[in-house]
C-alpha cells in the first residue's frame, strides 16, 4: 500500500446477497480519473468504499496510505461530493460551508475567509447569503463541490458532479477539475455520460456489473481490444486512392468510403503500423490530407466493445 497512490486490492462489497462490487484491484494515480459505467454498475459503491462510507466485505483499500475506516485522517486528505441533493434545512451557501469547515477543525476566522474564497472559486459569491433551497440544480452542484474543496484535500471524489449543470456550467466545472488535477491532486469523477468523461479524463475505470472491465488511458485500453479492429478516419481529397493503398496492407481489414465523398474509414488490427505506413500512402497517392483521427478511441466505443452494448450506457 503506497502512501502516494490510491489502491484497492481484491475489494468486494456485498449488500446481503446483492453484489455491489466484486474483486476489484486498482491503482489510481494523480490526475483526472473517470469512473464510468451505467446506473447500478457499482460506481457509487466504489466511491463510497474509497471514502469509508461503506466498509468492504473483503479486500483492502488505502487512500494515500490511510485506511478509509479512519474518518479523521481520511477526510483531511479526501473531499467528497455526494450525488445526493440534500442539505440542512434553512442553510445558506455560506453557513453550509462554515459548518463543514468547522467540522474539519478550521477556526472561525480562517473558515470565513476560506468560505468566500471557495464561493468565488465556484462562482457563487453573489449567492453566498441566499438559502440553498432556493438555488438552481447547477448552483447546488457547485456548492457541493465547494464543500468538497473546503479543506484543500489532495483527493477529490466527485459523484456525478456534472449532473444538472447547463453547458456553460459544465464547461466551467470541467475547467476547474482540470485545474485541480493540474495541481497534482487525485480527481476521481464518476459519470454515466461517456463522452463527458472522454473529454476530461486522463484515465478511466470502466465498471460493469460490479466488476472493473478496463482501466487506464483510453487509447491503451482500446489498443488491447484486439478482437475489434481499430478505426481510423482519414479526410482527404482522394479517398479512393488512400483506400486502395490501405487495403494492400496486411493488418488492414476494411477500408470504407463514406458518403461525404471526402473520407475513408480504415479498420486495422495494428493502428501503430497503419500510422507508420500512412505517410508513405499519402505521398504515393498524392492526396491532400485534411484530417487523420481515431474513430473509436473514445470511452463510448471502448465501453461498447467491452460490454457488447455499443452506445451510451445509461
Amino acid at each position: 500500500m503506497t502512501p502516494d497512490a490510491i489502491t484497492l486490492r481484491d475489494v468486494s462489497k456485498f449488500y446481503g446477497e446483492v453484489l455491489g462490487v466484486n474483486r476489484i484491484t486498482l491503482d489510481l494515480k494523480p490526475g483526472l480519473t473517470g469512473l464510468v459505467g451505467p446506473n447500478g454498475s457499482g460506481k457509487s459503491t466504489l466511491m463510497h468504499l474509497l471514502t469509508g462510507l461503506l466498509r468492504p466485505t473483503r479486500g483492502e483499500i488505502s487512500v494515500l496510505g490511510v485506511d478509509p475506516g479512519d474518518p479523521e485522517r481520511l477526510f483531511r486528505i479526501v473531499g467528497y461530493c455526494t450525488q445526493y441533493d440534500s442539505f440542512p434545512s434553512g442553510a445558506t451557501g455560506l453557513s453550509f460551508l462554515r459548518h463543514a469547515l468547522a467540522l474539519h477543525g478550521v477556526p472561525a476566522d480562517e473558515g470565513d475567509r476560506r468560505c468566500f474564497e471557495l464561493l468565488q472559486q465556484v462562482g457563487l459569491a453573489d449567492a453566498a447569503r441566499r438559502r440553498i433551497a432556493g438555488y438552481s440544480k447547477g448552483m447546488r452542484q457547485r456548492i457541493k463541490l465547494a464543500h468538497a474543496l473546503g479543506h484543500a484535500p489532495r483527493v477529490l471524489v466527485l459523484d456525478e458532479p456534472l449532473n444538472g449543470l447547463d453547458p456553460m456550467g459544465r464547461a466551467e466545472m470541467i475547467r476547474l477539475f482540470k485545474e485541480l488535477a493540474a495541481d497534482g491532486r487525485f480527481v476521481i469523477v464518476s459519470s454515466h455520460i461517456l463522452h463527458e468523461v472522454d473529454a476530461i479524463c486522463d484515465a478511466v475505470v470502466m465498471v460493469h456489473g460490479g466488476s472493473v472491465v478496463a482501466e487506464g488511458q483510453i487509447r491503451a485500453v482500446r489498443g488491447e481490444i484486439t478482437s475489434q479492429p481499430i478505426q481510423v478516419l482519414v479526410r482527404c481529397d482522394r479517398p479512393r486512392a488512400i483506400a486502395a493503398a490501405a487495403l494492400a496492407l496486411d493488418h488492414v481489414v476494411e477500408a470504407k468510403l463514406l458518403d461525404d465523398g471526402a473520407s475513408v474509414l480504415v479498420r486495422t488490427r495494428d493502428a501503430d503500423a497503419f500510422y507508420a505506413s500512412l505517410t508513405g500512402i499519402v505521398i504515393g497517392s498524392g492526396a491532400a490530407v485534411e484530417t487523420v483521427l481515431p474513430a473509436d478511441e473514445s470511452v463510448d466505443a471502448v465501453y461498447g466493445y467491452l460490454i457488447g452494448q455499443p452506445g451510451v450506457p445509461t
Binding site: T82, A182, D183
Partner: protein
C-alpha cells in the same frame, strides 16, 4: 497520462482539537432547535414550575410578606421532601416533552433526506454525530430541570440554614442523578426511534406510543399475574422508582430498585443498538 507538477498545498493552519469537534454538530443542532419560535416559547414555559417554586421558597422565608398575606411559615408544610419531589415531577414532564419534540427534529430529517453521506464525509464518525445530537438535547433540557432544581435546592439550603442542605443531601442527589438518567434514557430512545422511523411526526407519535404501550403492557402483566413482574418493562414506573429511591422515599414499583436500574440500562443499550444499526451513510440492502 498527463504529467502533473505537484503544486497542491493542503490547509496547514491551526485545527480545533478532534475531541471537541462533535460540539460543532451540537452548536448547529441548537441553532436548528431554536429556529422555531413556538419551540422557543415552549422552552421558556418549561421554566415556569421552577419560577413558581422560586417564588414559594422566597415567600416562605419572607416573614413580613407572609404576615401581610396572612400566612404562617408552615403554610405549605415547610419546604419538605414532598415539595421537592413534586417540583421534580413538574420539571421532568416538560423536560420529557422537550426531548420528545426535539429528538426527532435532530435526526429524522438527516436520514429522510439522505444527508448522512454528507455529514459523514467530514472528519467525524457516527459516534461523534450521535454524541453531538445527544449533547444538544442535554444542553437544552438541563437548564429547566436539574440546573434549576439544584439552584433552588441551594437557595433553600442558604435561606433555611442550620445544616438543612447537609441533612437533605438526597434531594440534590435525586435532582442531579434522576434528571440526568431521565434525560439520557429518553434522549437515546427519542433519537433511536427517529433513526428508525425517519419521519418526524411519526417519530414523535412512536415515542409516546412506545411509552404508553410499554406501561400498559407492564400494568396488564402485573394485573394478570398478580405480581410486579410487569414493572420490568414499565419504563415510566422504572424511572419513577429510581427517582423515589434517590429521594429516599418508598418506591412505586414492587420490584427491587436494582431491577428498575436494569430496565433503564436495557432501554438505553437497546437504543444505542438501534442507532448503530440505523445510522449508516448508506442503507444496507438485504
Amino acid at each position: 497520462m498527463a504529467v502533473y507538477e505537484r503544486a497542491w498545498r493542503p490547509y496547514a493552519g491551526r485545527l480545533t482539537p478532534m475531541g471537541r469537534r462533535f460540539l460543532v454538530v451540537t452548536r448547529y443542532a441548537l441553532a436548528q432547535a431554536f429556529e422555531s419560535r413556538l419551540f422557543t416559547a415552549f422552552y421558556a414555559a418549561c421554566f415556569l414550575p421552577s419560577l413558581l417554586a422560586l417564588f414559594l421558597i422566597y415567600i416562605s422565608h419572607n416573614l413580613a410578606l407572609l404576615e401581610q398575606l396572612g400566612l404562617t411559615r408552615e403554610f405549605m408544610g415547610g419546604l419538605t421532601l414532598v415539595f421537592f419531589r413534586l417540583l421534580f415531577l413538574w420539571q421532568a414532564i416538560p423536560g420529557f416533552f422537550l426531548m420528545a419534540i426535539l429528538a426527532p427534529r435532530l435526526i429524522a430529517p438527516d436520514l429522510a433526506n439522505s444527508a448522512l453521506p454528507l455529514y459523514l464525509s467530514r472528519p467525524i464518525d457516527r459516534r461523534d454525530y450521535v454524541l453531538g445530537k445527544l449533547a444538544a438535547l442535554f444542553l437544552v433540557v438541563s437548564p429547566p430541570t436539574w440546573v434549576m432544581g439544584l439552584a433552588l435546592f441551594l437557595l433553600q439550603a442558604v435561606e433555611e440554614g442550620g445544616g438543612w442542605g447537609v441533612t437533605n443531601w438526597r434531594i440534590a442527589l435525586a435532582y442531579l442523578v434522576g434528571h440526568l438518567v431521565w434525560i439520557l434514557v429518553i434522549s437515546l430512545l427519542g433519537l433511536a426511534i427517529s433513526a428508525w422511523v425517519r419521519y418526524r411526526p411519526a417519530a414523535l407519535g412512536a415515542l409516546f406510543a412506545l411509552l404508553f404501550v410499554l406501561s400498559a403492557f407492564g400494568s396488564a402483566v402485573n394485573g394478570i399475574t398478580r405480581s410486579s413482574i410487569g414493572d420490568v418493562v414499565h419504563l415510566t414506573r422504572a424511572i419513577a422508582s429510581v427517582v423515589q429511591h434517590l429521594f429516599g422515599a418508598p418506591t412505586s414499583s414492587g420490584l427491587p430498585v436494582a431491577v428498575n436500574w436494569l430496565t433503564l440500562a436495557a432501554v438505553a443499550l437497546l437504543s444505542v443498538f438501534v442507532l448503530n444499526r440505523k445510522l449508516r451513510a448508506h442503507e444496507v440492502v438485504r
